[in-house]
């Protein structure tokens, strides 16, 4: 019994890790594309940092990636195939953003003693890849919305309700009557 509880807790903690990583990744991405708000320095360094998020995100789902890769051209239902294609496109789009961003970099490359290019091509590619990634990330989140909702219920909504209920039980007055006889 104890073993089962431990396994469940371990699985839950992994799910929670997934949720936290995904949320931080999303916030980092949204922040990095708002250049006007963050400024160029944060924009560029955050962009480089996103590479680490990609690595962690893919590693966390590595079992799924390998399983679908092996079965992609064989018998496989539509849903994982669709997810796989969208995820692959997001991966390529993110690498395009980061790579083209590095090529035109004015903060990161000079920091390591290199000079970025001033080509319009790379700037347009950078902007277009960003637009495409916004769309693809929206699709990705839409396809996994159910998971986000269930995770929110599991880790935020339900614990909050439980805490409220427990608080009410503790706070409610208990009257004890003892017979004199």
């Amino acid at each position: 019994m104890e073993n089962v509880t431990m396994k469940t807790t371990k699985k839950w903690s992994k799910l929670l890790t997934n949720l936290v990583v995904d949320l931080v990744f999303l916030v980092a991405f949204l922040a990095s594309i708002e250049v006007k708000g963050t400024g160029l320095v944060i924009h560029e360094w955050l962009g480089v940092g996103i590479l680490a998020f990609i690595l962690v995100h893919v590693l966390l789902h590595w079992n799924w990636v390998t399983a679908v890769t092996k079965k992609f051209f064989r018998k496989l239902v539509a849903e994982p195939r669709l997810n796989y294609i969208v995820d692959l496109l997001i991966f390529i789009a993110f690498i395009t953003i980061i790579f083209s961003g590095l090529v035109i970099s004015r903060v990161v490359l000079p920091a390591i003693g290199l000079e970025g290019l001033r080509s319009g091509f790379w700037k347009v590619l950078h902007a277009q890849a960003t637009n495409l990634t916004i769309i693809l990330t929206g699709i990705h989140l839409g396809l996994h919305w159910k998971w986000f909702v269930s995770m929110f219920q599991k880790y935020v909504s339900t614990p909050l309700h439980m805490r409220k209920a427990n608080k009410q039980v503790v706070e409610s007055p208990v009257t004890v009557t003892v017979d004199a006889e």
């Binding site: 799910l15 399983a67 690498i95 790579f99 083209s100 916004i134 990330t137 929206g138 839409g142 998971w147």
Partner: protein
């Protein structure tokens, strides 16, 4: 642990391959033409400058070079010519066909939210219809050994 390292290396190789492919493709003039070789600049955060012969094709947002009143655009410089580096790319102009849909960077979150809703709502409806169909079906057979979504799997262990 070795599995994590191996997976990490594969991902890094994939990153290098994609980057290499982009670099390689950028050498083709047809690809360069596809994305246009015009400079992009949004005037809002432009860092002064403004002495270029404003031939920037105008697909980008903003387009102002910010700062100098000496700057004039195509009207005053019909001869065009090479665009000199001016406001640079601080504002991250969004150019091309996609920018026709996505103008203005400050609403990125809302744009993404809109797409999420556009996908999630029909997806939920389809999912529910599918569930109903399954519940009415006489025999249920598990159709996929692979989980539909990566979130259904945890970790690499």
């Amino acid at each position: 642990m070795w599995k994590y390292i191996k997976a990490g290396l594969i991902i890094l190789v994939a990153v290098a391959v994609v980057s290499g492919a982009i670099w390689g493709l950028s050498k083709f003039s047809s690809v360069q033409n596809l994305f246009g070789d015009e400079d992009i600049h949004s005037g809002e955060l432009g860092e002064g400058g403004g002495f270029g012969h404003g031939q920037g094709k105008g697909l980008g947002r903003g387009g102002g070079n910010g700062g100098s009143s000496d700057h004039t655009d195509l009207e005053n410089h019909p001869e065009g010519g090479e665009l000199l580096p001016t406001g640079e790319h601080r504002g991250e102009g969004q150019t091309g066909s996609l920018s026709m849909l996505f103008t203005g960077t400050s609403l990125n979150f809302l744009k993404m939210l809109l797409i999420v809703a556009l996908i999630a709502i029909p997806w939920a409806i389809i999912d529910q219809a599918r569930k109903k169909q399954r519940s009415t079906a006489p025999v249920h057979v598990a159709s996929a050994e692979v989980p539909a979504s990566p979130q259904n799997t945890t970790g690499t262990n």
